[in-house]
Symmetry: C2
Subunit: 353 residues, 2 copies
DNA sequence: CTCCTGCGTGGATACGTTTTCATGCATCTC
DNA sequence: GAGATGCATGAAAACGTATCCACGCAGGAG
């Protein structure tokens, strides 16, 4: 038994297909026919096929969602936020996991394009150049959690300008910004989050503070540099790619090469995990020997001993807002949203000894 | 500038659209025309629209994926497995999060049906009755991690039969099983996993062992009962719904109502998390006062102190295999797959004092 | 040489919907 | 009362593809 089509409904109700379509999509119709069509549709258990509609409108409903890794709890939270909003709107979500690899990302974007999905929420892995094709293909893209890195011809001045421009929610557009953030985004207030964390550590007497970074952390690193200013030591900033192994290697290498550091700021929960593991392996006690602040308030942060002091960013909200933005796109012209972070002090930091 | 269609390619190559279609989908064509068509297609940057194809074939490619909660690391792993396989096959994935709520699940299934997605991987929340409509709508469903609960007229005998039938991979079908597992599935070997864990605890001298369960844990509970046999105490089996709050409440309630228990088996990582938290709140030391074994080997299990002894189930593999199954459906008639679990002994269990 | 077979090819159709357009009828205005 | 206005309605087109079918041509068998 195959599904009923709009034609069947029209026939059974003794009206034209156009009328059925109108009734079902809220067009005008007389009360009488509307009632009849609705009754027949219900009786036939008719559900309009998204296929026909999509083809006709030359676009697939719903939205795409690209995250680096669903195994990372933070992105799980973000995804849940997106799904919550999508469900409320009755829109389907196509998901992809990029592994923070620009190539895979590009491939996934291509696949979405092929599906004619024209709304996308992405935690970008590629740089601005990588994203240009998708944008000029007419996709509505909302970046979440971070922005694509600047073009090869990178310029700190430019980056800062773009960032601050983004944060100027209440007005006056900076005059002709070099890279206008013309694509909407939902970010956490990294600058404030990092600064608060660094200030906290400084207040505890720490001077040699390391930053453990991952892909796409340029904004956080910038904020870190800014917050540390004079005390900055470039060797204390290390990176990993998105994998757990790499994160562990970076953390372990950091601890071994710089035994003089007294505090570390891990830029993500996988990096925090790696830091705890590496510290334990090297017999460094937290917080006795080294203080640790981790980005992301994941549930297990509290389970550690000592419980981890964290910079919480609202993953669920970021996802939800991003989904709102991508759905409302065209209606309002929202530029970018910045959500607050919060330092949650638990037990992984101690005064420098 | 709009996307090129198959018609454009045909025109530019001086052939009919049918030929272009054939060349691109591997049909027969002369080497010469094939080459020309391919060249033109590449030059025009032609990508076939999934919309047209879907409508024509009356089905959307790709697959649906329904999990209870992406915030739960285990389901994150499972989802990553599915995505890995889907990416390898170049198939898109539509995701939904059910919150372990049969109603939401049904709604999401309905949405997938509307999209004409006919392949679905699900960690089911609803029971067998809930799933019947989707199945007879022609969907190819592969259940992952667990099976739908039996119908209201539940029967332990039946359940066991179905399970063992499922595990009889190498042959002779049981004669007319009451509820034939005619829908393929990928499960962890819960029976063995639970038994191993219980044996381990028994071997440490524990007798009052509690099970902390979540939605869809009927198979695990059955295995738990079976493994405990004589020592079973029904009050020591408590349940929560899928939420963190509920898990905490269940764990806390358990510890308070039964201070005599000496070990607890948490049936999932969120439940394990809750157990650790509740124990700490009640000043119960792990493993001194109570031993804990947690289902799911999530990365943070090692970070706890003491590190958690866990029953590892291969989340990634479960997802990957499920995706394979749903893609190969029709080709082979695979019944069900059971993947092994492993007890990983760390530090959260001690001999009964 | 003829008939048949087989293959490469292109025209035409169908998939299910939305939307445009024209039509007919009823109501309103002067 | 005549023309104008508005609304409900249905026929038809279009979206981009895969596939059926018929056609033509080449080559092989008889």
């Amino acid at each position: 038994m195959k599904r009923a089509t709009i034609k069947d409904v029209a026939e059974a109700a003794g009206v034209g297909v156009a009328t059925v379509s109108r009734v079902l999509s809220g067009g005008s119709a007389s009360a009488q026919t509307r009632e009849r069509v609705l009754a027949v549709a219900a009786q036939l258990d008719y559900r309009p096929s998204a296929l026909g509609r999509n083809l006709r409108q030359r676009r697939t409903g719903g939205m795409g969602l690209l995250v680096p890794d669903l195994t990372d709890t933070f992105y799980g939270q973000l995804a849940e936020g997106v799904l919550a909003c999508a469900r409320a709107a009755g829109e389907p979500v196509l998901i992809g996991s990029t592994g923070d690899d620009p190539e895979q990302e590009a491939e996934l974007v291509g696949s979405l394009l092929e599906q004619s999905v024209d709304r996308l929420i992405a935690v970008p892995a590629g740089d601005a150049a990588t994203w240009r094709p998708a944008l000029k293909a007419g996709m509505t893209v909302v970046f979440a959690d971070r922005l694509p890195a600047d073009d090869p011809a990178e310029d700190d001045e430019t980056g800062s300008a773009a960032l601050s421009d983004l944060m100027a929610l209440d007005g006056l557009p900076a005059a002709a910004p070099p890279r206008p953030p013309d694509v909407p985004s939902v970010l956490a207030d990294d600058r404030s989050g990092i600064r608060t964390a660094v200030q906290y550590l400084k207040g505890l007497g720490h001077r040699r503070i390391a930053y453990l970074g991952g892909p796409g952390h340029s904004r956080r690193v910038r904020a870190f540099r800014e917050a540390l200013s004079a005390a900055l030591d470039d060797d204390l900033i290390v990176f990993s790619d998105g994998s757990r192994d790499s994160a562990y290697a970076a953390a372990s290498g950091l601890f071994q090469s710089r035994p003089d550091l007294t505090a570390v700021l891990a830029g993500g929960n996988m990096l925090g995990e790696a830091a705890v593991l590496a510290a334990r392996e090297l017999d460094l006690r937290i917080p006795r020997d080294v203080s640790l602040i981790m980005y992301d308030d994941v549930p297990w942060a509290e389970l550690c001993s000592p419980p981890l002091t964290v910079v919480a960013q609202p993953g669920h909200d970021i996802g939800y807002r991003a989904a709102e933005l991508v759905l409302r796109a065209g209606t309002r012209r929202q530029r970018g949203v910045v959500l607050p972070t919060e330092l949650i002090v638990r037990g992984s930091c101690a005064p420098r000894r």
